[in-house]
Symmetry: C2
């Protein structure tokens, strides 16, 4: 009864959500702060009877608000929105990658990329990181690929690739193949590649409201690209689900974009907390990769990542461990409030 393609699936496994006790949850890169007060206002004045009607399928007002917030001369024609960047990424994979050649991405990166490739039967090739765990963009130039995807900063390392490095790569990469830069974590200290859109029609930027906008539970993600790319994504969306973003999410997303100073403030605070935390555990003998994301990737000589994860969990704090060879000695730690990180660094001092 199952379709042949079903057997190609290997589903994504997200950070655990155990319910046996209260944990400080630093395992899913969620934001420790609440959304802007403007969001609460929109919800409390929401006209519930409007739920009886279908949402705006094109989310025009929300796309205007995002364009206005990001600036750089963007308009709604540069924007596509979806039910989380996970759905947006799925549409991007469908639209731009096929079986003519493998999709390239870094060996250690967001673990949903190979899952989408399985969903759409896209062959993949993982390109090793450099010895310092940074992404080796030159490795993506070898051979023939259907396209390239990488996060900036990368996950789970947190390492940022400078805009100038990405520009040089785009100058050498075939202009008729899509290059996806997943900027899920760009708001914690990195610089966006949006200005490169003018020169590179094959550049596609994916963003999420889950991290820097404290909206993991609201499910909202978007694409920034040139208008022809956006039009193609609309065609794909309209062949899958005409209305992926519900009415209330469109409204709260719009309100959130209107209060960028609030998000700038909390995300700067998270960056400061990250840097202090990294400094502190470095002093305790931990190796911390240089992160511009809202998490750090760290290990301690002589300990396995699994044993670190377990020692920290025993103290009521959840972090994330990945068992893939090459990164199995690390744990990924999301940045919480200064108080939470203080508690964790205390625990890590003793591990």
């Amino acid at each position: 009864m199952l379709a042949k393609r079903f057997y190609e699936l290997s589903p994504y496994v997200p950070g655990e959500q155990p319910k046996d006790r209260e944990y400080i949850k630093l395992n899913a890169n969620e934001n420790p702060y609440p959304p802007s007060p403007e969001v609460a206002k929109v919800i409390s004045s929401f006209d519930v009877s409007s739920f009886r009607l279908y949402p705006d399928p094109d989310a025009g007002e929300l796309r205007d608000a995002i364009a206005h917030m990001i600036g750089h001369g963007l308009t709604r024609d540069n924007l596509f929105v979806g039910n989380g960047s996970d759905e947006v990424l799925s549409f991007v994979f469908f639209t731009f990658f096929d079986s003519c050649a493998p999709l390239y991405f870094p060996e250690h990166t967001y673990s949903f990329y190979p899952v989408y490739a399985g969903y759409y039967d896209i062959p993949i090739e993982r390109k090793p990181l450099r010895a310092d765990y940074s992404i080796d963009l030159d490795a993506f130039l070898a051979g023939s690929s259907t396209g390239v995807i990488f996060p900036n900063p990368n996950a789970p390392t947190g390492i940022y690739t400078p805009v100038q490095t990405i520009r040089s790569f785009l100058q050498k990469y075939p202009a008729d193949r899509a290059v996806i830069v997943d900027e899920a974590y760009i708001d914690f200290g990195g610089e966006t590649v949006v200005p490169l859109l003018t020169d590179f029609p094959n550049l596609i930027i994916v963003r999420t409201f889950s991290k820097s906008f404290c909206f993991a539970g609201a499910r909202l993600g978007f694409v920034i690209a040139n208008p022809p790319v956006i039009q193609n994504l609309f065609t794909t969306k309209n062949s899958f689900n005409h209305f992926p973003v519900d009415t209330l999410t469109q409204k709260v997303g719009t309100a959130a974009c209107g209060d960028w100073p609030y998000y700038r403030r909390i995300n700067d605070e998270i960056a400061r907390t990250r840097d202090m935390f990294a400094q502190e555990i470095t002093a305790y003998g931990w190796t911390v990769l240089p992160s511009l994301a809202n998490f750090v990737f760290t290990r301690k000589e002589g300990l396995s990542g699994k044993s670190i994860y377990e020692a920290i969990k025993k103290e009521g704090i959840l972090v994330r461990h990945f068992s893939q060879p090459g990164i199995e000695d690390f744990v990924r730690i999301s940045i919480g409030t200064p108080e939470q990180m203080k508690k964790l660094s205390g625990v890590m001092k003793g591990v």
Copy 2:
């Protein structure tokens, strides 16, 4: 730059949402009444800061609430939820239909079915309706199919197929091929096929909150099936978007399920309005197909569907016209409030 599969797409076209003037909107089968007062309570007491965390990926509480509401001994293991029945249907198509044989569905039916088939490269065969526009289930028994899908009641005709007829069909149809019954409109007078699940593991029932639950804007749909089917759908979902239903939608959906008497009352009212409206326009010389949905499909001797649609639109009321040969003389009219239908029947008297 576009994937080969992109060229197979022919996107869905939903009911128009013109903004040139205020219309009475009877073209998208939306419910004229607001959701239950319990929904407003949930929204006004919603803890906005919970948005910072990811939703329950399995929507356990919501699935419990749906199971409890529907009864028939169902549990959460019989339920899968998604971002509208459109997303749910897309996952069903991915999971159960492939290119080994064509998918069968009625010639005139929900026009998203062929769109999904295009998305997943599934060959299709449309089986003609009977002369009275009812679905001919016997036509689905001929040849070899990858599966079957039809709505009950059917759209855009509104015609209901009795449970006993579907049971007889399932007894003759191969037990290793999925049969999808799309019960989007079942709450307006039809009887569900849920009791057949015990005997037919290949039966899959799709439902939506958009119509009878006044939740078109909230995006919520679900599947009722035996546990192995549900597990397979989870595997598919987790390979596409781990969290398709946001936190607030899970909460308002749960609250809605708790107030079934409210929905029973408004949907019975819609059924009464439909029957009165049908009687009235029949008296004015219109032919109305027998409907158990929240819409009617009607035509008038000597007039084209397009001219009817335009004459009604000129009076500030939107209905839906389909240009496919065989139904091009009909219009589909969603059932609104008694006052709206009174105004429309007045207009139709003069057409």
